[in-house]
């Protein structure tokens, strides 16, 4: 059984299209999105459009929760004023440019998806099983903590996103937690590609592959400029280094980046 997981898309419909093409070539049995379809990028309606046309199921992220309830902000969970400043620019743009029909469609998305595959109980969530906007970073998610989440929420494999950085931890008793990363922006590593995640699961054995997605990021950057999105966002798309929402990064992840 081969599963594909699409983390935060942040309106990057070019990367989404490239990922979906790649998935088509790889004999994937089922594909799921994990929320945060909007933010950061241009023309937020194009991502829901594509997902609906392709019939891809998925869950709400904090963005869909906020947009569908017509909230004032994204509930991203940042705590630093500069992080929040840029998050608000993203959210206001996305809110203004998402049509009502899609906001209402977002309200219909579940907050989690559960299924059994390869004999393992999967749980798909946006942030963490307990909170839609909890950040599960690798360097602040000890094994014992993740194992407790698996216990408390009756799951063998938890798949999440929300942070923007992908990782996978194998835990005791054949359990796994993985962060699928995001299609919306690069992984703060100086490379322009973005990521989605493949999981092969057979007879309780899990094999995780993070797939780099190369797409026309220069085109995306031009479209972002045409929409007057902050030049800091454009720089991230072009350089692969995060320039905003940095204060939320734990020290390990922060040190690995450029800013």
């Amino acid at each position: 059984m081969r599963l594909a997981f699409l983390g935060g898309i942040y309106s990057n419909y070019h990367a989404l299209a490239a990922a979906l093409d790649d998935i088509t070539r790889r004999n994937v049995d089922a594909t799921y999105f994990l929320g945060d379809l909007g933010a950061f990028g241009p023309h937020p309606d194009r991502v829901p459009e594509l997902l609906i046309v392709r019939g891809i199921p998925g869950i709400q992220g904090n963005y869909e929760e906020s947009l569908s309830t017509r909230a004032d902000d994204c509930h991203c969970g940042y705590t630093d004023p500069r992080d929040n400043h840029y998050a608000q620019i993203s959210y206001d743009y996305t809110f203004a440019n998402t049509r009502d029909a899609y906001k209402d469609w977002m309200a219909t998305l579940p907050r989690e998806i559960r299924f059994t595959a390869g004999g393992l109980r999967f749980l798909l969530v946006h942030g963490s099983p307990r909170t839609i906007n909890e950040f599960l970073w690798r360097s602040t998610s000890p094994d014992v903590f993740l194992e407790k989440l698996c216990n408390d929420y009756d799951a063998d494999v938890i798949v999440c996103t929300h942070t923007g950085l992908h990782w996978h931890k194998s835990l005791s008793e054949g359990r796994h937690v993985l962060n699928a990363g995001v299609l919306g922006r690069p992984a703060n590593d100086g490379r322009a590609n973005v990521w989605y995640t493949l999981v092969d699961v057979n007879e309780r054995i899990v094999d995780v592959t993070f797939v780099p997605v190369h797409y026309d990021h220069a085109l995306l950057a031009n479209e972002m400029r045409a929409e007057n999105l902050p030049e800091q966002f454009v720089e991230t798309i072009l350089t692969g280094w995060w320039t905003t929402c940095l204060e939320i990064l734990p020290s390990k992840e922060r040190t690995a980046g450029r800013w």
Partner: protein, 331 residues
Amino acid sequence: MPSHLDPVPVPVPAPAPAPGVGASEATAFPPAPGAGAGAGTGTGNKRHPHVQLRALDTLWFQVAGTICNIECTHCFISCSPRNHSHEMMSLADVQRSLDDARGLGVREYYFTGGEPFMNRDMLAILEATLKQGPATVLTNGMLLRPDVCRRLRELFDASEYSLDIRVSLDGFDAESHDAIRGKGVWDRVMIGLRNLADAGVNPVITVTTAAEGVASEEGRARFLDVIRGFGFDRPRLKVLSLFRIGAEENRTRAYEEWERLNAESLSDEEASVLQCSSCRMVTSKGVYVCPILIEEPEARMGATLGETLRPFQLRYGACHTCWVDGVTCRT
């Protein structure tokens, strides 16, 4: 470093209650015994809300007890070189709780005092901690010698988990900082920060709202420039609020009687965003509900972590600040 309390609003995500913990159990606990009228002291009003421990995410250690090399005027537990109310903790003391913490699925560890780097075991304690989770140390920055800083960088590199050093300042310059912390302290902290920068450790600089103007956007920008000036090209700054207990009670004013939480102003469910819904504090004297109330005998919930997983009644003045300001001491 108990002045370092973070006024960061806790994200309010409508958290799902942890499995097996029913909010309705709260009222089953007997009202707290009455207590005196001191500023941070509890009252016996049984209508104070209870907070459930949803999950033990954050474990604090009062690793240097109440012993500090300086005596800040705003220290909310009145630490000083002579305050032995809580004693230093040894590596063995800490290790016992680290072992318990694994079984409880603790997510992160915080070390405070007093001044943690007065503890001879501090680096060994960090090494042990970083084997099982991320660690943050709250320090006044005066004892950050070059060899200590180099070792911190080694520990950071060797662990798969994050290590953060939080250094507190009380103003933009020696004058404002030393007015609260004592003469000559600023200069020693500057040396410590330079040592950190040389070793490649980027601390989080915390500043209390005791510093004039720091809460404004302009004040922040100015402070970030100050931090860049220390040699950190990616300045990390947190602005913290103060508790009016301990020495801070004398500097400003104590809590008034009305500044208490009651079950009408705060439901048990709302209380679940308070940090005491996800933390405990280990000191040489036992395990307390949170890092703030360690001088309240009734806030000591047991001798070991396992004894402290029950709800806690929010009957202290400091609880009011926690709720109104959305305070969490975490980074």
